[in-house]
Symmetry: C2
Subunit: 439 residues, 2 copies
């Protein structure tokens, strides 16, 4: 239901902060250890999270020299977690630019069956030279082409998910009829990027069909989200920006004939907490101390904010020039404009800005009550349906959230005391969609 | 070690016999129920099998009207079984014609990490119009092109599996070095079918690298097997044929510079057993009774042997004309020649031939001692390293094998009493290969 608080957790190896693995004493191989991820999943399930979101880019990020990067393939990893969990949703990120729709539709639908209806697909179009080079391309396609392909990809995948009608499976041991051939439909897709006949060789999902998730920050991304996304987890630094984004997405979705309330907007939120505010800040400072490496504070702030070396003024507590975020320095997609706006709205200094975001996601550092205040304020505005919690270090920052913030949210009456259902759609409060192939 | 008995189990939904689902009272959804497959896997692990082999063709076989077909994607399904098992190997079948090497290499290597070194890849080139039509092709490529693609695919996959050296992972919390960039190598592959830069974004496998399995019956299939296969599970109807096949494969492998003893030849064997011979035959007859459907016995035998209607003579106990298997009727690849040879060698009648094979795999029906005799004779010949047991019905025929035949094999001193190791390579007695990328 709209108005309820929904939480995802973003799981990136040992955490979103690149020094987390140095702080928490994880065993060397945690980032490729399914047992470790199962521990995280069980923790998130104790916190009644709707789902785990696994980001992904299919190439070896050179950052591996200094921190764990995405390794195990997300659909496989999550299939490995399905048996050891019972309620939490499983959202693998998979690129629409470097896969084939039949194979991917089948894997996500298999995950959905394996988990009893807890699967989603987080659609990314992947702008990365390294990923293109692993898939026979000199360079990534341009953004417009990537999004055209993504849209066609999703249409094919949904048609394949819908190719078995609900009652196609008969399994009548007496007559010998196993399935009704007239209830299993070819999709006969012929398009710009794909020709796929179908039908899918997997029956319909226990939750109707898997959920579509997306991050959508660019213009074509927003258009894509308005058409297809049921969960949107992108970055929102300021409440004003979140309100504007939400109104725009819901209006666009309504224009496209969708129910604007059947979309869950869950922006990333980096949470650092502790027994009190001081403990939270101590944790945050300790994580950042690993990044010192002989660099000056100015140099470190420039790196944390994706600014060219030498661009910050000497006074690190004076308001930063918002125009700095509109220069050509390489930044994750959309974060330049978001930082520009946030700096202009808040008049933050470089130091304050660096403590207000991590990797482009809004960061909140404080006591459990302060974290709950932030969540309550944003939720109350109607702009968001909850958050994608981004723990800087795993499992510690997730554990503190579950043990300290969740009970506070429950005391305030804004968070569930148990899972409302057994499928991801039920927990997100999303409807079971009618089949796209049945008249 | 060569000379030891190795067993795989072929797991096709509710069994290889198309009427098995009607006999055993399986719940409707068993073929998409990971819990059901976990039960099968645990049973096979009690029987100390080396591995589960999951066949696959990526399209909806129209046979779904009458029997379960392959549904859940094999790499996903096996990832779901990794946590609930401890020793058994996991062999998904995945098509080299309808996948991309980076993605597949990553999924199989992820399965290998998730299972602690128990993964293999069963390479098939997929000659099926329905699969081609799901992947943008009017028709499957010709056999020579499929095998050229398969060979290049395997070379790329192995190079990717080898792209992290064993000691690339450092994870030094003090220095902040996580991995040694100079021990993670690009592969820079540019070929006829693929351009892949690499490196793989997953560290080296716990067993060195996953095992390569293959069925190889055609001439290009045999050449491929001799070059790459570490496990060969194709069909062998007669011992004479098996001896010839084995000599040929091992000689070809040696010519290609491989150790001919580092190949496990494990042909399919359909086993039907019971407390005594009578119980086995009762089981077999009950399964076949479901196929009667108003057809005459002649019509049913023609169907079971892939013969044109009207081709069998009236006397169903007289020797069959072996030439019938060389006509143009559609048969699974290689089975026509194999049946021709078997019929010529044995002078079998249509009735006897239909009881000697199921779907092209040799069938043995009898008491546990009779099954063990067959296994012991073939193993003793040196032609095979064991068998891929193909249960006509699951779980019943596997359960009987594990409870009745396995103890008999152990009494005879030709089968293990416990797993020799924890990885698939250790259990198959295969060496850990040196990296292909390190001088």
């Amino acid at each position: 239901m709209a108005g309820d608080l929904h939480l995802l957790v973003n799981v990136t190896g040992t955490g979103y902060h690149q020094a987390a693995w140095r702080e928490d004493g994880q065993p060397t191989g945690a980032f490729v250890d399914v047992g470790y991820f199962e521990w995280i999943a069980n923790l998130a399930e104790r916190g009644l999270f709707d789902a785990i979101l696994l980001p992904d880019i299919p190439f070896q990020n050179p950052g591996i020299a200094h921190a764990p990067t995405q390794a195990l393939e997300p659909t496989l990893l999550l299939a490995g977690l399905a048996a050891g969990t019972s309620h939490i949703g499983l959202i693998p990120t998979v690129s629409s630019s470097h896969n084939a729709p039949y194979n991917l539709a089948r894997r996500i639908l298999s995950l959905d069956h394996a988990s009893g209806g807890r699967a989603a697909w987080n659609v990314v179009t992947t702008f990365a030279q390294g990923a293109a080079a692993n898939h026979g391309q000199q360079a990534p396609a341009d953004r417009a082409a990537r999004y055209r392909r993504a849209a066609e990809f999703v249409e094919v995948v949904i048609a394949l998910w819908d190719s078995w009608e609900e009652d196609a499976l008969v399994a009548d041991q007496d007559s010998g009829e196993f399935a009704r051939a007239d209830r299993i439909h070819e999709i006969g897709h012929a398009g710009e990027f794909f020709d796929v006949t179908g039908p899918m060789n997997v029956p319909r999902s226990p939750q109707g069909r898997p959920v579509i998730a997306q991050a959508g920050a660019s213009e074509p991304g927003i258009e894509f989200a308005a058409r297809y996304a049921e969960v949107i987890y992108g970055s929102q630094l300021s409440l004003a920006g979140a309100i504007e984004f939400s109104s725009r997405i819901r209006a666009l979705a309504a224009e496209r004939g969708r129910d604007p309330d059947a979309i869950r907007i869950l922006p990333g939120l980096v949470v650092v907490t502790g027994a009190d505010e001081g403990e939270a800040w101590t944790r945050w400072r300790r994580l950042n101390r690993h990044l010192e490496d002989g660099r000056s504070e100015t140099e470190r702030l420039e790196a944390a904010l994706w600014l060219e070396p030498g661009s910050l003024a000497e006074d690190l507590d004076a308001p930063i020039d918002p125009e700095l975020f509109l220069t050509d320095a390489p930044r994750p997609q959309g974060f330049g404009r978001a930082l520009n706006r946030f700096a202009a709205e808040t008049g933050s200094s470089p130091r304050r800005l660096a403590d207000s975001q991590l990797g482009g996601h809004r960061a909140v550092i404080g006591s459990p009550a302060q974290i709950a205040d932030h969540i309550e304020t944003w939720l109350g505005s109607g702009a968001v349906d909850g958050f994608t919690i981004v723990p800087p270090g795993l499992p510690l920052d997730l554990q503190r959230f579950v043990e300290l913030v969740v009970p506070e949210l429950q005391r305030r009456g804004i968070y569930r005391a148990e899972y409302p259902g057994a499928t991801l759609r039920a927990n997100l409060g999303l409807p079971v969609p009618a089949s796209s192939l049945v008249a």
